[in-house]
Amino acid sequence: MAYALQQLINGISLGMIYGLIAVGYTMVYGIIGMINFAHGDVFMIGAFVALIALLLLQLGGVMDGTAAILLMLLASVAVTALYGWTVERVAYRPLRGSFRLAPLISAIGLSIVLQNYVQVSQGARVKPVEAVLRGGVEVFREGDFAVQLSYMQMLIIGTTLAALAAFTILVTRTPLGRAMRACEQDRKMAALLGIDTDRTISLTFVIGAALAAVAGTMYLLRYGVIDFYIGFLAGVKAFTAAVLGGIGSLPGAVLGGLLIGLIETFWSAYFSVQYKDVAAFSILVLTLIFLPTGLLGRQEVEKV
């Protein structure tokens, strides 16, 4: 029971990270109907920028945990958002309105570029960092087993919720959010009504990248080690989360992220760590076969 509760806490904090990345997939899919294949690598860049910022802060003598994390987040969001913008500008915008496969291939190419760019510029070795926040509170004790809620997990859950709340307000309450939703419904019509669709799409990528940067920072803090390859697996799992939740649906992406995080954690805890990815991928396959529109997705009616 206590063990399960601990897994639940671990699963939620992992799931939050997946959820943040998944929102990026679902937003881009919603607005241009494309899997942004490079999104996982944008997340990886976010983790690397956070790492570099952390090292800079340590050089500068900033030792306070909270301040350091806040500055890391800011730096990572700023730089990663620029990467997100560039990805759209380089690999997607020239192919707007082109054949469906072309942007997918150029996104795969860009994903390869980003991975190898980081490998070349930052080296292929894994980067370990010391924990920024230590300790935690004991939530519950059963015999010898104590259920821990670490400060790090609280931070991850708190930051993620804050980022998602800010994002939700942005999408539902601001003119930009309205423009985004309009483009999602009908891009041609939105353009006719005077919405700058190119700019809206760019901003969608920027926001998605910013959320991925938050996720990257949290990933770095949670695991304490990153390398240039983390983006692929995290990307595929986050995409799974987006599909599971119903692609195009923002609450669905978060829900899907949580489910994938929980499934992965519980699977590792009770069955086998090696096959945890197989579990996540099998969920993806099963969802698509039995629930093609996901948990919260809209039913698509085939017009004849």
Binding site: Y29, G33, I35, F48, V49, L51, I52, A53, L55, L56, V79, L82, T86, V90, P94, L95, S98, F99, R100, L101, A102, L104, I105, S106, I108, G109, L110, S111, I112, V113, N116, Y117, V118, Q119, V120, S121, Q122, G123, A124, R125, K127, P128, V129, E130, V236, T240, V243, Q274, Y275, D277, V278, F281, S282, L284, V285, L288, I289, P292, E302, V304
Partner: protein
Amino acid sequence: MIPAAALRDAGLAALVALGLFAPLVGLRTDVSPTGGLFLRTRWADVAIVCGIVFLGRLVLSLWLGQRGLRPSTGPGPWTARLERAGAFVAPVLLGLAVVLPFIPGIGRYELDIGILVLTYVMLGWGLNIVVGLAGLLDLGYVAFYAIGAYSYALLAQYFGLSFWVCLPLAGILAAFWGVLLGFPVLRLRGDYLAIVTLAFGEIIRVVLINWVGLTGGPNGIGGIPRPSFFGLPFSMEGGPGTFAGFFGLEPSPTHRVIFLYYLILGLALLTNWVTIRLRRQPLGRAWEALREDEIACRALGINVTTTKLSAFALGAMFGGFAGAFFATRQAFVSPESFTFIESAIILAIVVLGGLGSQVGVAIAALVMIGGFELFRDLDEWRMLVFGGAMVAIMVLRPRGLVGTRTPTVALGKKRAISGDLVSEGHG
């Protein structure tokens, strides 16, 4: 563009580049001997990169003016030439491929590259059936390649079966898995199908890594028997029972390489022959119709599921053949050879070549894989250039090298159909 505007534009580009590269290029995280991380600064590199971006952007906007770099689907100057020469390019390429081992100056190394290129040509042609003809986006094609390779490796290891027995078995097993996977997922649309096939490829790879008892895990399977020349082994001893001894030749390691070269050439040509023939048959035509409009196919009484399955299984079968060849050539297989990036490369070859075009796929494989080998000295930069080339080619020619479709039948003369009319499938 007027120079002042071009300058400002280039300045902006350089500024963006600065923002992108200053943190990641300028500050390198290195692991110190004590295990901690420290930062090394490389501002000069950042300055160089930003300078290149500035100049590149400036030159591009001044040179191209208002036109900018635009994707083009129409026949470009060189594709028009390629099309005109099309009837003659294919035979010339084929002729070159056939006589390659006997061209003076072609040594073992060149032949090895030739084998590699042909392997990808074959994989490209196999995947072309699925993606190019039937319009089913498959991002996990490497799974079938892996199934073929491991089928041969395991059958040889556990049952001592020879290559010639295993080759068809590997193809059949891969096709079987193709049907098994295809049956539930083929009703999914486009990108969903892509991601499910990607997941399938990853599942196969994770299972290969972790099922140590059967597959040897990450260490792979070694000592896979090499192919024999219809029962005559290639051996350095030169006894009467060996290839060299039987034909009275001086034993040489090149014999096997040449044999492997012709083996993969033969397999690739088989793939091509079957595809070309099927395209002119009802089955191939139904694949293309499916790519064009699935609903109309249903209304015409075409069983959509079995038609898709047949394309999927056939593509998988050729992937399986190629896998068995890979295993016998390397004498060693490990999960490392079957990562997602392989699927991406094969798909890139198909799309860059032009969906459905056999010659285009062959040229794309030659350029991508051959070019990739030329840059061998660049080491880790190689993949960077490779990915960059993928983006650049897609941005400039979204329809690939050969963007037109040739009709399969005509009352009069066959005329190429512009790529703009040909759709690329929804599923």
